[in-house]
C-alpha cells in the first residue's frame, strides 16, 4: 500500500499556489491535512500526477472571530479551531461537531477548510457549513470569489471549486448569543463516519421556536438542509410533539445509499432519531430553554 509517484509542488505564497494550480488545472490535487487524501493514495484509489502542498501558506493559518462571523483560514487545523475560545462562544455548533471528527491525532493535521472542500457526504463539517450558512472563499488565477454553502456542495466529493482554484477560507456566520445548538451522530465506533448525523441551531422567543436550522449528514449525496423540518419547528412550541413532527419531516423523501453498515430504511430511522436528539439538545441549550 505505497502511493504512486507524483510531481510535488510546495508553493510558499498564495500567488505561487494559485499560479501552480492554474497551470496544472485538474491534474493538480491539493494537499492540506492529507488525512483523507493520503489514505486514498496509499490504496492507489487516487493517483494524482501532481500534488500541491499548501501547508507552507502561513497567511492562511488563522481563526478570526467577531460578532458577525468566525473566519477559518485554509490552514487552521481542526484541533486549533476546536480549542479556540472564540469559536466555542460564537460558533458552538462547529465546536461540538469537531468533537465527532475522527480522533484528535487526525484533527491535529486535518483542516476545517479542507474537510469542507473534500465534501464527504458523511462528514460533519460540510453539514455544519450548510447549517450555519457559511461562505467559502475560493481563489484562482481569475481572482477571488465567495460561494455560499447552499451552492457549494454538488455531489459526493464534488464541490463548486473549479480546477485551478484553492479554497482559502470558510466564514461561519456567528450564532447570536442565546442560540441553542446541537450536533449528534450515530456511528458504529467512536470516531467513525456517521451512519447519520444531525446539526440544529434555533432560538426561543416568547417560548416559541425561532430561526430553526436543521441539517443532516450521511444520508444523501451531499449534506442536506431539512427545510421541511425547519418549517415544522418554526414558531412551534418546544415540546415532544413538535420535535417528533420535525424529525419525521426531516427524513421525508431522503434516500440514503445502502452499504454494508446500513441499508436505506435503517439509515432513515437512525437519521430521524438523530434529528430528534439534536433538536432536544438545542432546545435545552437555547436561552429560555430547560438547560
Amino acid at each position: 500500500m505505497k502511493p504512486a509517484a507524483f510531481e510535488y509542488h510546495r508553493p510558499e505564497s498564495a500567488e505561487e499556489a494559485v499560479a501552480v494550480l492554474g497551470r496544472l488545472g485538474d491534474e493538480g490535487r491539493i494537499l492540506a491535512g492529507g488525512q483523507s487524501l493520503v489514505p486514498l493514495m496509499n490504496f492507489r484509489l487516487a493517483q494524482p500526477e501532481h500534488v500541491v502542498d499548501v501547508n507552507r501558506l502561513g497567511e492562511f493559518d488563522y481563526v478570526q472571530a467577531d460578532d458577525r462571523a468566525v473566519r477559518v483560514g485554509a490552514l487552521a487545523r481542526q484541533s486549533t479551531v476546536e480549542m479556540d475560545a472564540a469559536v466555542a462562544e460564537r460558533a458552538p455548533l462547529l465546536r461540538e461537531a469537531l468533537g465527532f471528527v475522527a480522533h484528535p491525532p487526525i484533527r491535529h493535521r486535518g483542516t476545517v477548510v479542507g474537510s469542507v472542500a473534500h465534501a464527504d457526504p458523511a462528514a460533519e463539517l460540510p453539514a455544519v457549513a450548510l447549517c450555519l450558512e457559511a461562505t467559502v472563499t475560493v481563489r484562482g488565477e481569475r481572482g477571488e470569489r465567495q460561494i455560499a454553502a447552499k451552492d457549494f456542495f454538488l455531489g459526493p466529493f464534488e464541490t463548486a471549486i473549479e480546477p485551478g482554484e484553492l479554497a482559502t477560507e470558510v466564514a461561519f456566520p456567528a450564532s447570536a448569543p442565546g442560540t441553542g445548538y446541537g450536533f449528534v451522530e450515530f456511528a458504529r465506533r467512536h470516531g467513525d463516519f456517521a451512519i447519520a448525523g444531525a446539526g440544529v441551531t434555533l432560538a426561543l422567543r416568547d417560548g416559541r421556536i425561532a430561526d430553526p436550522r436543521v441539517v443532516l449528514c450521511g444520508v444523501g449525496p451531499t449534506p442536506l438542509r431539512a427545510a421541511a423540518a425547519e418549517r415544522a419547528l418554526d414558531g412551534g412550541a418546544p415540546d415532544e410533539e413538535t420535535i417528533a413532527a420535525a424529525a419525521a419531516a426531516a427524513v421525508e423523501g431522503i434516500e440514503p445509499p445502502a452499504d454494508m453498515h446500513g441499508g436505506t430504511r435503517y439509515r432513515i430511522g437512525v437519521a430521524r432519531a438523530q434529528v430528534r436528539r439534536a433538536i432536544a439538545k438545542a432546545l435545552d441549550r437555547a436561552e429560555g430553554g430547560e438547560g
Binding site: H190, D192, M260, H261, G262, Y266
Partner: protein
C-alpha cells in the same frame, strides 16, 4: 481435598504446590523493555544487504480462468529484478503443505496457475528494489481473465455439481460426515421437550496489527534456505515446507521473529514464506515479502469459521439436558489447508460443561470463492460454545427458568472428574458451580437484576446475559486425522522441546523452538517456570528462540498449549541439570549425593545447611574444573528435554469414540449487562464480569491480560466485526474503515475473578488460558441482547448482531 460450598461435597483435587515462589505472582514481564523502547524487531523491521521486496499481483475476480499473464511491461519498470507468474512458480516451488482432506484435488499453490478462486488470490509476484517500485510494476502486469460464475453461497455450493471451486474434486463439499456418540436417537425419542435453533456465525478474522512476513535468503551453493519469519514453524513439520521449497529437509532454517500479535493468524502461515523463498531462488538475493493490510485481509489465509447451524437439544420437562444434535455447514472458502481441525476443536467440548449423555455432529465443509479460513482464537471451539449457549438460553426462555439456574442444574459435578464427554474427549478437572457462584458474586447478579427492573420500568431496554463455557487446551495430533477411517498418517506427536544451558557464572539461558514471540508472554512464562526451579529472578534469565535447523521437536503456541508444555519441558530439562549439579555438589562438599537437598539456589547437606554449594559455584566447577567432576561426567551444564502431550488416547476404529485429544479443560463464566437503543440498534455495555478457571495460574496479571484482550475480541465478534463478501465474491470490508475492530470506547471495563482447579495431568496443575474471553463473550453478549429485547421475543441468531440486524429482529417481532 476441598469442599464445594454449595453442595458440601468433597472435590478430589491435585493440590497446587503450596511453596511456590514465583508461579502465581504477577511479576513484570521480562520481554517488555525492548518493546517499550521500540526495539522489538518484527519481520517488517529487518533488512539485509541487497534485499529485494515482493509485491503480489492479486486477482480482482472471485472466480475466473487465467488466460494469459503478460509480465513484459512490468519487467521493464525501474528497479524490477524479476516477475514470476503462477505457471513459472510451479516450476520452482511445489504446492504448500496442506492438511486438507484431498490435497491432490484442492491443490494449494503459492500463486494461481489455471484459474483464480477468490478475490485477492495471487497470480504473479513482482520482486523489486523497494516495495514502492514493486507496486508500480505490479500495476503493469497484464492478466487476461475469463470470468466464471461465482460460487458465493455455501448453501447453494453444497448442491452444485456443475460449478466447482476445484474441478478435480468433483464437488464443492470438501468433507462430509456424521458422527454419532451414544444413543442419540433413543434419547431424543424419550425426551419431553426438544428445542431447536438455527444460527449463523459470520466470517471475521483476527487482523492482528502486524501481518505475516518472511525474508528468504537462498544459497544455491550450499542449498541452504534461511527464512526469517513470524509464522510458527513447528520444527517437526518444517520438512513439509522444505519440500514445498524444493529444499532438503535439513537445509531449511526457519528463524523465528516476533510478530505484533497473531491470535492464530501466524499459525503455520506459510504462503508468505514460500513467496519469499520463490523470490530468493529466482533472484539469488534476499527477498522480503511483508504483507500489508490489503494483502493480509484478502489473501492471508486467515479467515474465521463461517458456520450455519441447525441445532436440537433434547431435555426433560424440568430442564435436564439429555442429548444434543449439531448440523453444521462451514464455508471454508477456496481452500482448506487446516482440514476440519476447527471442528475437532468443537467436538473437544461440544456438550459444554453439561452432563449431556449423547451427541451427534453432522459436518459439511463447503468450498466457495472466498479467501480460505485459518485459525482465529478459539479455532472453532468458540463458535461451538456460542451455539450451545444460544440453545440453552432458548431452552431457559421456553421453560421460564433463570438462565443461571438452568446451567447450574446441568453441570458436570466435581466428583465426576476426570470426565469423558460422549465424543470421547476427557475433561481433566473442573468445578463449574464454584466458578458460576463466583461470577454471580463478582457481577452482583441479584443486585443487577434489581437494577435492571428499575431501568426497565423507566422504559430502558436493559438485559443481562450469562454463559458458562469450556476452554480446552493442549491439543493432540489425533484431532487432525480422526476424521478419516483410513488416515494417511496417524500422527501422535505434539511435543515441546527446550534446551537449557547454564553458563560458567551460573546464569541460565533457555532456547525455545518452533515459535516466535507474538504477545503471548512466552518469554515470561519460560522465565517464571525456570525461576521456580532455580530460585532466580525471572528478569535474569536469557531466552532465545531457535530456528528449525537443528531445532528440537516442538509445536509452538496454539490451542493454548504453550505454558503447559513449557512447564513439562522445563521441568524435565531443569531436572536433568539439577541431577548433574547435585552430583557435582556432592563431589565439592565431599558428601553423598543422596544426602543433599536443593534449597534456595544451591545444594546443601540435609540437616547441615552450612555445608552448602551455591549454584553459581557448581556451574563454574562444571565448566572449568573437569578433574573435580565425578569420573563419568563431562564438562558443562546443559540439558535438552522434549515433553510430549501429557494425555492422549487413540480414537476407536469406528470413530464412535474419538479418544482423549484435548483434556486440559479450563472453564469460565461471563456475565454482561447491556442497553439497546431501539432507535439506532446501538448496544451499550453497562457492566461485564468474567471469572476464569485455567488451573494453576503462572502470572495472574498476564492471564488477565489475555482474558481482557480475548473478551474484547469476543465483544467485537458479537457486535462489530464481519468480513462481508457480496454475491460476486467481492470482499467489501477491505480496510479498517469497514472491518471494525474496537477502540477503547467499545470495550467494557471488566470485573475479573479467578478460580484454580488444578489439572491432574500437568506440571503444577497448569491449564492453558490464552484463548480466554473470546470463547465466552459472544454468547454473553447475545444472551444480554436477547434479555434486553425480551418483550420483542428477540433471539440473536447471527453474529455480528449489528445495529441494523437488531432492529430487523425487533421489527420482525413487533410487526413494524
Amino acid at each position: 481435598m476441598a469442599t464445594n460450598p454449595r453442595t458440601n461435597t468433597e472435590i478430589p483435587l491435585v493440590e497446587k504446590p503450596s511453596d511456590l515462589k514465583w508461579i502465581g505472582k504477577s511479576v513484570k514481564r521480562v520481554e517488555d523493555p525492548k518493546y517499550l523502547r521500540g526495539l522489538g524487531k518484527y519481520v517488517a523491521d529487518l533488512g539485509f544487504d541487497g534485499m529485494l521486496h515482493a509485491a503480489v499481483v492479486r486477482s480482482p475476480y472471485a472466480h475466473a480462468r487465467i488466460l494469459s499473464v503478460d509480465t513484459s511491461a512490468a519487467k521493464a519498470m525501474p528497479g524490477v529484478r524479476a516477475v514470476v507468474t503462477g505457471a513459472e512458480a510451479a516450476e520452482i516451488v511445489d504446492p504448500l503443505p496442506d492438511s486438507g482432506p484431498a490435497p491432490e484435488q484442492h491443490v494449494l499453490r503459492v500463486l494461481a496457475v489455471d484459474k483464480v478462486r477468490y478475490v485477492g488470490e495471487g497470480v504473479a509476484v513482482v520482486i523489486a528494489d523497494t516495495r514502492y517500485l514493486a507496486e508500480d510494476a505490479r500495476d503493469m502486469v497484464l492478466v487476461e481473465y475469463e470470468p466464471l460464475d461465482v460460487i458465493a453461497d455455501p448453501l447453494v455450493a453444497l448442491a452444485d455439481t456443475s460449478n466447482l471451486v476445484h474441478d478435480d474434486l468433483g464437488t464443492n463439499i470438501a468433507y462430509e460426515r456424521t458422527f454419532t456418540f451414544g444413543d442419540v436417537e433413543g434419547d431424543f425419542a424419550a425426551a419431553d421437550i426438544i428445542v431447536k435453533d438455527k444460527l449463523h456465525w459470520h466470517r471475521c478474522a483476527a487482523q492482528a496489527l502486524d501481518n505475516s512476513g518472511a525474508i528468504a535468503i537462498y544459497d544455491a551453493g550450499s542449498g541452504e534456505m534461511t527464512l526469517h519469519t513470524n509464522s510458527i514453524s513447528i520444527t517437526s513439520f518444517s520438512f513439509g515446507l522444505a519440500a514445498s521449497m524444493r529444499v532438503a529437509s535439513n537445509k531449511l532454517n526457519m528463524v523465528p521473529h516476533p510478530s505484533g500479535g497473531s491470535f492464530g493468524a501466524r499459525f503455520s502461515n506459510w504462503r508468505t514464506a514460500v513467496t519469499a523463498a520463490l523470490g530468493a531462488k529466482v533472484t539469488g538475493r534476499p527477498v522480503k515479502y511483508s504483507e500489508d493490510r490489503l494483502d493480509h485481509i484478502l489473501n492471508g489465509d486467515q479467515h474465521s469459521s463461517d458456520r450455519y447451524y441447525e441445532l436440537e437439544l433434547a431435555m426433560t420437562e424440568d430442564g435436564i439436558f439429555k442429548s444434543y444434535r449439531t448440523d453444521v455447514v462451514d464455508d471454508y472458502g477456496a481452500y482448506i489447508y487446516l482440514g476440519v481441525g476447527t471442528h475437532g476443536n468443537a467436538m473437544a467440548q461440544v456438550v459444554g460443561p453439561y452432563r449431556i449423555q449423547s451427541t451427534e455432529y453432522r459436518l459439511r465443509a463447503v468450498l466457495t470463492n472466498k479467501c480460505q479460513q485459518g485459525a482465529y482464537r478459539g479455532f472453532g471451539a468458540e463458535v461451538a460454545n456460542w451455539a450451545i449457549e444460544r440453545i440453552v438460553d432458548k431452552a431457559a426462555r421456553q421453560l421460564d427458568i433463570d438462565p443461571a439456574e438452568l446451567r447450574r442444574k446441568n453441570f458436570i459435578q466435581p466428583d465426576q472428574f476426570p470426565y469423558h464427554i460422549p465424543t470421547g474427549n476427557l475433561y481433566d478437572s473442573g468445578d463449574y458451580e464454584r466458578v458460576l457462584d463466583h461470577a454471580l458474586d463478582e457481577f452482583d447478579y441479584a443486585g443487577m437484576r434489581a437494577e435492571q427492573e428499575r431501568m426497565r420500568a423507566e422504559g430502558r431496554n436493559v438485559g443481562i446475559g450469562i454463559v458458562s463455557c469450556q476452554e480446552r487446551s493442549v491439543y493432540s495430533a489425533t484431532e487432525f486425522w480422526f476424521w478419516f477411517d483410513e488416515p494417511a498418517a496417524e500422527v501422535t506427536s505434539t511435543p515441546e522441546g527446550v534446551k537449557l544451558v547454564v553458563d560458567p557464572m551460573g546464569n541460565l539461558n533457555v532456547t525455545l523452538y518452533s515459535t516466535p514471540f507474538w504477545g503471548n508472554s512466552s518469554d515470561t512464562m519460560a522465565a517464571m517456570l525456570l525461576a521456580e526451579d532455580f530460585d532466580v529472578d525471572p528478569q535474569t534469565i536469557g531466552i532465545d528462540y531457535g530456528g528449525t535447523k537443528g531445532g528440537l521437536p516442538a509445536a509452538g503456541p496454539g490451542g493454548s498449549r504453550l505454558t503447559v508444555m513449557y512447564a513439562g519441558a522445563i521441568r524435565g530439562a531443569a531436572g536433568k541439570i539439577k541431577e548433574k549439579a547435585r552430583r557435582i555438589a556432592a563431589e565439592m562438599l565431599e558428601a553423598d549425593a543422596d544426602d543433599l537437598e536443593w534449597s534456595d539456589g544451591g545444594f546443601q547437606v540435609v540437616g547441615s545447611p552450612s555445608s552448602r554449594a551455591e549454584f553459581a559455584d557448581i556451574a563454574m566447577t562444571a565448566h572449568l574444573f573437569a578433574t573435580k567432576l565425578p569420573d563419568d561426567l563431562q564438562s558443562g551444564l546443559e540439558a535438552t528435554h522434549v515433553y510430549d502431550h501429557p494425555y492422549t488416547t487413540m480414537p476407536s476404529k469406528d470413530r464412535s469414540d474419538l479418544g482423549s485429544f484435548y483434556p486440559c479443560m479450563g472453564h469460565a463464566c461471563h456475565l454482561a449487562m447491556v442497553e439497546v437503543d431501539l432507535e439506532t440498534g446501538g448496544v451499550e455495555i453497562l457492566r461485564y464480569a468474567a471469572v476464569h478457571d485455567a488451573g494453576t495460574m503462572v502470572n495472574p496479571r498476564s492471564l488477565e491480560g489475555q482474558i481482557i484482550g480475548g473478551t474484547a475480541q469476543g465483544v467485537a465478534t458479537a457486535l462489530l466485526e464481519e468480513l462481508v463478501y457480496d454475491d460476486q465474491g467481492q470482499l467489501l470490508s477491505t480496510s479498517f474503515m469497514d472491518f471494525l475492530m474496537p477502540t477503547a470506547m467499545e470495550v467494557p471495563e471488566l470485573l475479573i475473578g479467578h478460580e484454580e482447579t488444578p489439572s491432574p495431568i500437568t506440571e503444577y496443575g497448569i491449564k492453558g488460558g490464552g484463548e480466554a474471553g473470546r470463547m465466552m463473550a459472544p454468547g454473553a453478549m447475545s444472551a444480554a441482547i436477547d434479555d434486553a429485547l425480551r418483550e420483542y421475543d428477540v433471539h440473536v441468531t447471527d453474529l455480528p448482531a449489528t445495529p441494523e440486524r437488531i432492529l430487523d429482529w425487533v421489527g420482525q417481532k413487533a410487526g413494524s
